[in-house]
Symmetry: C2
């Protein structure tokens, strides 16, 4: 038992220190490793395989809506970055600059892309001429660099993987429609595949993207009551088009500016999976995104027929599921701990007695429920168990979020909620940035979004008491 | 007809100017666009979709051999790059340096990865302790940067996409086996999927990778008779392991160095597809890698029922093939030209008379053969035509290569072959670098590889006349 203890002991309990628990899990589940480059993480096979599953499913959803993938250069000449004023102000402080190449100092320095609006605009200004060329619905999967002072695996790192979609449309209406369409696509993906419920809404002007007319966001609540911005979709109007001269000749023969959007989701979402579903034994992965869905663990594998039976079950299940056998020489208890740490949704225990009884024990990672299943109906039962688990993980996450969402109708209630009730606080707001700043200074909470699903909690701003304009979700955020 | 002319006129014929033909094709088929960043290309949807198909199929082959994907940082601290002497000498002249980040000058400059041996070695030195941790079979899909003076789309650009596999093994034998396994995997992939026959062999010491003990390569012959190095696999022995201190405790309790390999294939291979299969009407894509395999082109689409029938054929074929309908308001002739320029393997022409006769005309892109097919057996026939086309494209490329491979047994023959017979020249070599250098200076041809399939053409070196050691494929190369 010494071995098992070692693995489990190494994790701090989330009640004692949530941040340390998080760090322990990402390391012990071998999702990441730190590198020699400050603030850059290495995505190890267990971590990268989650990203591959996200990418595959999200990419298929994008393509269903007509999106096409491209690849743009990773460097942006300084002059190009500077073309849109708000945008450069937002990003210039956190970029990395290449100043030497091929042994020579460069005439113009190049920034390593923090995001690629400027490059897409430059391309669109070259290839869009007529209304026939619209819409352009391009996306790329790549890494971007933002020089962060403090970093945390998945949540904030100097380089991270993401996708960035950039579209150009003939009309403002079409751009607005695409912006919302992609936000809904993200929210549906997170609920259906990652079992994470999202609040959909609009960012305040203070929190919106540098250069955007409107930024829409999906916000999730982590287990510790902090919010995580999980994906954003921006409507640029024709601001970038004017800065970059992206014009097309319309059917009426008039020269018009295009309307643009961009939208992105990153490896940050893996942090959300960990912090929404994980427990004190490690990761808990929703079946639909788990790289391995089923781990077959032979019991007394030295006994005749046990390993063969384990392989047979794997081969049978491989038709419909991602399944592996742990046939290493570790003890079953150690294997259980590893499977739990890695968050593999179900394990199947199969030993001599099970074989004799033509059965196996299926154990759910989330509830630890043990289900004895006849081998004659293994595939059906495993499928049902995974479906149920996927569904219940979403329900539990939603119940947790709802239980950690307070309502505040005056500033005392608000401050009390932020201080003592970890989670979202719903409260009315007058629309003035002054109140947002005061709230942040007084409580460290920020406006997460103005949700599409509005409620009227009061007619007064929770901060200044003046006429309220909108309900806002507030919270401490990652 | 003016429209059709315009599209076709824009391509230089390959007999007149092969380099210009190539540039015309990559632009007119909308594979790439030039960017504002010198030497960096934009992969447009038609080009990126080819890379996606390569990636998907190659990645599946890797995973069948146990390879796992990871993601490493794009930056390498200068001190890390310098750990292996030959390696840094090979790459230092062509790297890009980041010297500023987050508004501050960096204490240590970071190079943008030209390749990631040093990062993988750094990781392996941390995570490999015991023989139980071996082998490590990691791969990553990413972009790399090499500061090239002259660039050409796909063939040589400052930033390009590739995969780089990096493995660590307990024994020298296992590393050598993996090196050859991956080379064979590349060669099989190129023949089966890209219809490009490869010469497999070993690079001379002069041409091998910086830091490798042995470099194996696959070499293809382009339509103009020039060679293209299409993929390489390196055996590092324990050189990097010693430089980075990657040791493990073996079963005998002894501390030993690991043996390593690396292997890569890049977007360069798209250049090979173009230059092996293309013709004066544009691209010709092998069916197995073509993003769109079948384009349905309605004839007289304004007539009742034509478009509906075109959509019906698309829907029927979508079950087994990647198929689209060109329902734009362009003329059929213009659509034919576009389909040919983009290299879509077959088009299906369907008009009122075809519908009446319950048939369609299937046209092969490579031979332009028109095949009248009954709609009752459309799926079967299209499948057969694509299979035949895939097979015949490989056969034609092999016949072209064989017809452009000369044998030289003395230096006059050799110089004559390089000057007057575009293609590979097979000739014996003494093994001395002096002869390689002289040959390059006299003829501009370089040693492509020492093929695994050796022949004894003579017992004398084709250059110096001394005792020959090995047969070499020589050629002018991209």
């Amino acid at each position: 038992m010494a071995q098992e203890k070692k693995l489990v002991e190494a994790i701090t309990s989330m009640e004692d220190d949530f941040a340390q628990w998080y760090t322990d899990v990402v390391k012990k589940a071998e999702l990441i490793d730190y590198s020699s480059v400050r603030g850059c993480m290495i995505l190890r096979p267990n971590g990268y395989a989650i990203w591959e599953n996200i990418q595959k499913q999200l990419d298929a959803k994008f393509k269903e809506t007509g999106v096409e993938n491209v690849y743009m250069p990773m460097f942006i000449p300084e002059s190009l970055l500077q073309k849109e004023k708000d945008h450069v102000e937002g990003f210039a402080p956190e970029v990395a600059w290449v100043t030497y190449g091929g042994g020579q100092e460069l005439q113009e320095r190049l920034c390593v892309r923090p995001t690629s609006e400027t490059l897409f605009c430059d391309l669109y200004s070259n290839i869009v001429q007529s209304y026939r060329d619209l819409p352009k619905l391009y996306n790329q999967w790549c890494s971007v660099v933002r020089w962060e002072k403090t970093t945390r695996p998945f949540l904030r790192s100097m380089e991270f993987l993401w996708q960035e979609g950039h579209t150009a449309h003939a009309t403002a209406e079409e751009a607005e429609e695409r912006t919302k369409q992609m936000l809904n696509l993200y929210a549906d993906f997170c609920e259906e595949v990652l079992a994470i419920p999202m609040i959909k809404g609009r960012k305040t002007d203070k929190e919106k993207f540098a250069g955007a007319e409107a930024t829409y966001t999906i916000e999730a609540l982590m287990h510790d009551g902090k919010a995580l911005q999980s994906g954003t979709s921006h409507n640029f109007g024709d601001g970038f088009a004017k800065a970059f001269g992206i014009q097309y000749t319309d059917k009426d023969n008039q020269l018009k500016y295009v309307h643009q959007t961009s939208w992105g989701m990153s490896t940050r979402i893996i942090g959300a999976i960990i912090m929404v579903h994980g427990d004190n034994s490690g990761l808990v992965l929703p079946p639909r995104v788990a790289p391995t869905q089923v781990m077959v663990i032979p019991i007394a594998q030295h006994k005749e027929g046990v390993l063969d039976k384990a392989y047979e079950l794997r081969d049978r299940l491989s038709v419909g599921f991602r399944v592996k056998v742990d046939d290493t020489d570790k003890s079953p208890g150690w294997k259980f701990s590893e499977q739990e740490m890695r968050g593999i949704p179900v394990r199947i225990e199969i030993g001599p007695k099970d074989i004799e009884a033509n059965q196996a024990v299926v154990v759910r990672r989330d509830t630890r429920e043990k289900i004895v299943v006849s081998l004659d109906e293994l595939e059906t039962k495993v499928g049902e168990i995974l479906d149920t688990m996927q569904k219940e993980m979403l329900e539990r996450a939603r119940a947790h979020r709802d239980a950690h969402t307070s309502v505040a109708t005056n500033y005392d209630e608000f401050k009390d909620a932020v201080a003592n009730k970890p989670g979202f606080v719903k409260a009315m707001w007058c629309g003035e940035e002054a109140c947002e700043l005061k709230i942040k200074e007084d409580t460290t909470a920020t406006s997460r979004c103005m949700p599409f699903e509005q409620e009227v909690l009061s007619d007064k701003c929770v901060c200044c008491g003046k006429q309220a304009k909108t309900m806002v979700y507030w919270g401490k955020a990652y």
